[in-house]
């Protein structure tokens, strides 16, 4: 077997034991890596109904067959577990040196189970695993922890760590790496915290097996240069993702005041031009030559790394239009290890709920100073308000009542990315059918949708495009474990990914082979979902109700008076189900599962839920 090492490291924190396990070539070809590995391992090893913040939950760190080689934008890893935010499978990816160090240590993935007795740091060096005290880092933020680890081991180690948010099990705490990178929006950092696992540090010295190392090296270094030149020519990284903000403001898609509004005359104050002007440095992931991380000095003078989702959800959606203050809110999320997007949506929801009288409080849109205090209270779970915010917008809405769930901007408990879909049905569908909830990495069609179709269309073509993009974004990029940016932003061809896969493995796959694995991974996430929620209905695939509400329609601008039509949305959803081979609840049928080679997994699901 080439490309894959064939080993998984299993670590038990309760017993302080570890062992190397092997997997077969059949397993490798069926699931490839990253999300594919994680979704299968967690399905087989977790019993439905377990407490995601209990010792029964498991953390999976997974890489792909091209991780650790110098191919463009492959310096990422997947972190996954049962989500404390959504109650079923959740994952995320983040840029980290773990991508190559864990593979060089001799593993394609690791599983962490049990719970440590005291705050612990795992140190992995090739075949050795040490269970070290993390007491000096416990209670400290991610910047402190990262520096502490670098001081001890140098900067050439892979690091995954959590902040106070993870320690205190904020349901949307993330895993952090490289000081500016974060992943695991569905609370994977909280799962680490629940295990008293402060950090994982990895160092590897072995060679990663590849079918054609010479060809891989030539291709990889050549393409790193190619991508860099394409980026320079296009100018994309001048603003990186932050160009999206001005565009969303122009097409009535910007989240403003918890998505009450779709644009703001103040948006220019926090747009990509202003960010570029304020830039103090640029950062990227390993194996990246189109770096996207622009840092600025925040209000307090910290270096804060911003991208569009941060600025959209901690800025415009909170009605904060001072870039330095957005930087401050973002810095605190990073320091505490909170998901910036969920934190933005949760604070915005809280301000909205107070304004609408669903609850009492002292937080208003635009109050960045109070926002900063609230983030600290949330990360520390301080007092009633801190504990409430730590639960996330959906649980808060259920607590508040007064129909506030309608404007909790989430799907299945996971908060939306920074696209306000008052009148963008395809993007609303992408959020609705995001298998883990409204995750930005897979829920996206908006620019294709607005470019190629009319805004009020709910046709089958939009469902088909959502599926096509899911297969690419939530499928191939997540099981190969690579960043998507060279593809759309620079026009680097998708064919490059099976090309690298083949160079690594010696196989002869095409994109069609990739789509089969993608569909398999998506169906597995749906099986996770239905066995946890056997009474789930298609309503779980609806976007936030406020987008259907005529009273919420814009009063002026390009979509004045417009809103999503609930009956048409439901028909669009049915198009999606029909094309996917899902039943009326949005669950893959047994026939679909059989075609994907998932009959055994279907039989396992039927112990808990009925399949069609």
């Amino acid at each position: 077997m080439k490309g894959w090492i064939g080993n998984i490291l299993r670590v038990n924190l309760t017993n302080k034991t570890y062992k190397k396990e092997t997997f077969t070539e059949e397993f490798a070809k069926k699931w490839v890596g990253g999300r594919g590995f994680a979704v299968k391992i967690l399905y087989d090893e977790l019993k439905p109904g377990i407490d995601p913040l209990g010792p029964e939950n498991k953390l999976v760190v997974a890489l792909g067959p091209i991780s650790g080689i110098p191919a463009p934008n492959t310096g990422k890893c997947i972190v996954a577990a049962k989500s404390p935010l959504t109650g079923f499978y959740g994952d995320g990816n983040l840029g980290t040196k773990v991508s190559d160090q864990l593979r060089k240590a001799g593993y394609d993935a690791m599983i962490v189970e049990g719970k440590a007795e005291k705050p612990t740091m795992l140190y992995i060096e090739d075949d050795k695993v040490e269970f070290l005290s993390a007491q000096e880092m416990w209670g400290k933020g991610t910047y402190f922890s990262n520096d502490w680890i670098y001081a001890k081991y140098g900067k050439n180690v892979g690091v995954l760590n959590i902040g106070q948010g993870g320690e205190n099990m904020v349901r949307y705490a993330v895993v952090r790496s490289l000081e500016g990178r974060a992943g695991g929006r569905p609370g994977i950092g909280a799962v680490m915290g629940s295990k008293l696992l402060k950090a994982i540090v990895v160092k590897g010295t072995k060679t990663i097996p590849q079918a054609d190392p010479a060809a891989m090296k030539a291709a990889g270094y050549g393409d790193l240069k190619t991508v860099h030149e394409m980026d320079k020519k296009s100018g994309w990284s001048i603003q990186s993702t932050n160009g999206v903000l001005a565009w969303c403001n122009e097409v009535a898609a910007l989240p403003v005041e918890n998505c009450r509004k779709t644009s703001s005359p103040d948006a220019w104050k926090i747009d990509g031009e202003r960010l570029n002007d304020a830039r103090i440095a640029t950062y990227g992931c390993p194996s990246c030559t189109m770096k996207c991380g622009i840092t600025i000095h925040d209000k307090e003078g910290h270096e804060s790394e911003l991208d569009y989702e941060n600025v959209g959800l901690l800025g415009s959606n909170l009605n904060v239009f001072e870039l330095k203050q957005v930087g401050s809110l973002n810095y605190l999320c990073d320091e505490y290890g909170l998901d910036t997007m969920s934190a933005g949506c949760t604070l915005s929801f809280y301000a909205d709920a107070i304004a609408r009288g669903a609850t009492k409080g002292d937080f208003k849109f635009g109050d960045a100073e109070r926002g900063k205090e609230l983030l600290g209270m949330c990360a520390r779970r301080e007092g009633q308000v801190g504990n409430l915010l730590a639960e996330g917008s959906l649980r808060m809405a259920k607590e508040f009542g007064h129909n506030s769930e309608a404007y909790a901007m989430q799907v299945k408990g996971l908060d939306i990315a920074a696209y306000n879909c008052k009148f963008i049905p395809g993007q609303a569908l992408a959020f609705g059918v995001g298998p883990m909830g409204a995750h930005h990495k897979e829920a996206w069609i908006i620019t294709f949708e607005l470019k190629n179709s009319t805004r009020d269309s709910y046709g089958a073509d939009k469902a088909a495009k959502v599926i096509e993009l899911q297969r690419i974004r939530g499928g191939m990029f997540e099981f190969m474990v690579a960043c998507r940016f060279p593809w759309i932003e620079l026009g680097w061809k998708l064919d490059n990914y099976p090309r690298y896969f083949n160079l690594a493995t010696g196989l002869n796959w095409t994109l069609d082979d990739m789509w089969k694995v993608a569909d398999r991974a998506y169906s597995m996430i749906k099986l996770h979902y239905i066995r946890e929620f056997p009474n789930a209905t298609r309503k779980g695939d609806y976007p936030p109700a406020v987008w259907f509400d005529p009273a919420n329609a814009d009063k002026e601008g390009p979509i004045a008076g417009k809103h999503l039509d609930i009956d048409k949305y439901d028909r669009l959803l049915q198009h999606y189900y029909d094309q996917r081979g899902y039943d009326k609840r949005g669950i893959p049928t047994k026939e679909t599962l059989g075609k994907l080679g998932l009959s055994d997994e279907a039989a396992a699901a039927e112990k808990y839920a009925k399949l069609s």
Binding site: S234, T241, A417, W444, N452, E489
Partner: protein, 75 residues
């Protein structure tokens, strides 16, 4: 006629402006703007007029706000 042109992201730096009013002959199309903004026609882009997408061949009108953006895959 006069239209306001707003550019997004990297297009600003290629054209040398972010937003400005441009005078065009009557019945000009969106495509007529391309030389004025140095748009790389090989790269996919999206053009909107007053917030809704149009094609390169669509005729512009006096007072339009035209936004040209590269395609983004998000943040």
């Amino acid at each position: 006629m006069k239209v306001t042109v707003k550019l997004i992201g990297p297009l600003i730096y290629a054209a040398g402006f972010s937003e400005k009013e441009i005078t065009l002959p009557n019945s000009a199309t969106a495509r007529d703007l391309f030389p004025r903004i140095k748009l790389d026609k090989k790269r996919p882009s999206i053009i909107t007029r007053n917030g809704n997408a149009i094609g390169p061949a669509d005729t512009l009108e006096d007072g339009d706000r035209v936004v040209v953006s590269p395609l983004y895959s998000g943040g």
